[in-house]
Amino acid sequence: MSKEAQLSIAERDFILEALCENVRLDGRKPDDYRPLNISFGEEYGHVKLQLGKTNIIVRISAEVTKPREDRPFDGLFNINLELSAMGSPAWENGRTNDIEAYATNILDRIIRHSNALDTESLCILKGVSCWSIRADVHIIDYDGNITDAACIAVMAGLQHFRRPDAVVRDGRVIVYGVEQRVPVPLNITHKPLSVTFQTYNDSKHVIVDATLKEEQAAEGDIVIGMNSAGDVCYLSKYAGAPADAMAIVNKTNVAWEKVKEINAAIEKVLQADLAKRAKIGMADESRAENDRLVQIE
């Protein structure tokens, strides 16, 4: 497995020295995120997210399938993250690596295991058919902190996605096309996000949203998964040097603030996109009206 090129001694020393003066390479404060930009594609659940120079595309898709034998009332939900050489030349196509397993694990725990998407609502007919929702995460440019970025993108995607409507009639499942019935949003129970901290200089300095170079210079990381209500659903001190317990307590407050801020940002772009779609929808309808008139002539 090839790895990211190592940091030079000059870079590592400088990053650490600068943090002692609370200076980061891009001029940010320790608790600042990079500029976050979220937009949506034409399809429902197609999210394009930029966090500084980390760039992610998430696509949500749905298909009808058979539920698992042991959980006849539950639908399926999977998050699929596959790294390719597009995100970084260090990642080889078709091969798994540590970052992939690490990020997938965190996303699973924060979003799936906290039941952010209510899988029971995906059941169509007990033990016979249900929806399988799939989130595909494509990292197209990697400059650190993919867990937070992917988490934001997947949550935005789930809130943006609309699945086709399906009903059971005489024991048979009928799935309506998007043209026949208005597609339905997913049932989101809460909106958890991850906030990743990197620690430096014996955890004297703790920063959020590290760039790749900052991650490489770090001695350890702390990941906090939390929703806007302040419920912690994930907490990990995965590897690296031990961190000061008080730092974790203090940073949980920072994490909560960040989660609230980012969820508000997601809500804002969601509403804007919804309004835009409503406008286009109305224009389409009136055009369809015109088309019908032409046909009559």
Binding site: S2, A5, L7, S8, A10, E11, A18, V23, G27
Partner: protein, 271 residues
């Protein structure tokens, strides 16, 4: 002169070739020669192998293509690069010039005044400012670096280990611009290669002691401001941000000046 963009397999139009016949025609990267002029009066036939802007220099009788600035650096003889030591063996330091490519070799004795006893002991991760000595011929050839000018045996142009300071990544195109701009000794330093950012930083930071900078063609810029004492860290970060933003946003000269002011204020280096 009109700007001409060529795509791979496009022929260089005859009227764009320099007409200076005293020197042999020299080709830059991205072009290849299909036929030489012969006695019956035919001309050079050149085709492009990359997409780029055709530029000619009548004085030096050269033709070259300027291709995309974000491309990967390919070592070329006589280029200055900033290499990172990966490991050392009996005779060589094995250095990284670009990530994910084979290591380049730097002789343990290829430093100014180096002997078996006085050679520098470089550790993994240390940086050197070096010149590409040879790229070899044929398959599997290794790139060789040196930290002395073979003609003089001296470390001309700041060659040798880089201690302290910080390196910033820029595009290979930006690195080439910075080098061309610094090697041109024109009076009007504002307009060279469309770069005003360095001269502007120089003016604004003069009072703090100025800074030292080395540019590697492999897309690395080393900056050292240890003279600036307590504000060294902030000055270094400011220079790095100015260079990277100018590069990434492809800023025009007057926007570069604005950027310098904005970042120096942001870093509280000027009021």
């Amino acid at each position: 002169m009109t700007a001409l963009v060529l795509l791979p397999s496009d022929e260089v139009p005859q009227d764009h070739l320099p007409t200076n016949n005293s020197n042999p025609l020299r080709l830059g990267p991205g072009l290849r020669i299909l036929s030489q002029p012969s006695s019956n009066g035919s001309n050079h036939v050149l085709t492009a192998t990359q997409a780029g802007l055709l530029t000619t220099d009548a004085k030096r009788n050269t033709v070259s293509l300027l291709s995309f600035p974000n491309r990967r650096y390919i070592p070329t003889v006589n280029d200055f690069v900033i290499a990172q030591i990966h490991h050392s063996s009996v005779d060589f330091f094995h250095c990284m010039v670009t990530p994910h490519t084979a290591h380049a070799l730097l002789g343990q004795l290829s430093f100014e005044g180096a002997s078996k006893k006085t050679r520098p002991m470089l550790k993994q991760g240390e940086l050197v400012y070096a010149r590409v000595q040879s790229v070899g011929l044929g398959a599997g050839a290794e790139v060789e670096l040196t930290c002395v000018n073979p003609a003089t045996g001296k470390a001309d142009g700041g060659l040798g280990p880089l201690t302290g300071g910080m390196v910033f990544d820029v595009s290979t195109g930006m690195a080439a611009r910075l080098i061309r701009a610094s090697s041109t000794s024109a009076e009007n330093t504002d307009a060279i290669e469309g770069l005003a950012v360095l001269s502007e930083l120089g003016k604004k930071l003069e009072s703090l002691g100025g800074f030292e900078i080395a540019v590697g063609r492999n897309g690395k810029v080393w900056v050292d401001c240890s003279i600036a004492a307590e504000s060294a860290v902030k000055v270094t970060v400011a220079i790095g941000r100015c260079l990277q933003e100018t590069d990434q946003q492809n800023l025009h000269t007057h926007d570069q000046k604005k950027l310098v002011m904005k970042i120096l204020r942001d870093m509280k280096l000027v009021s």
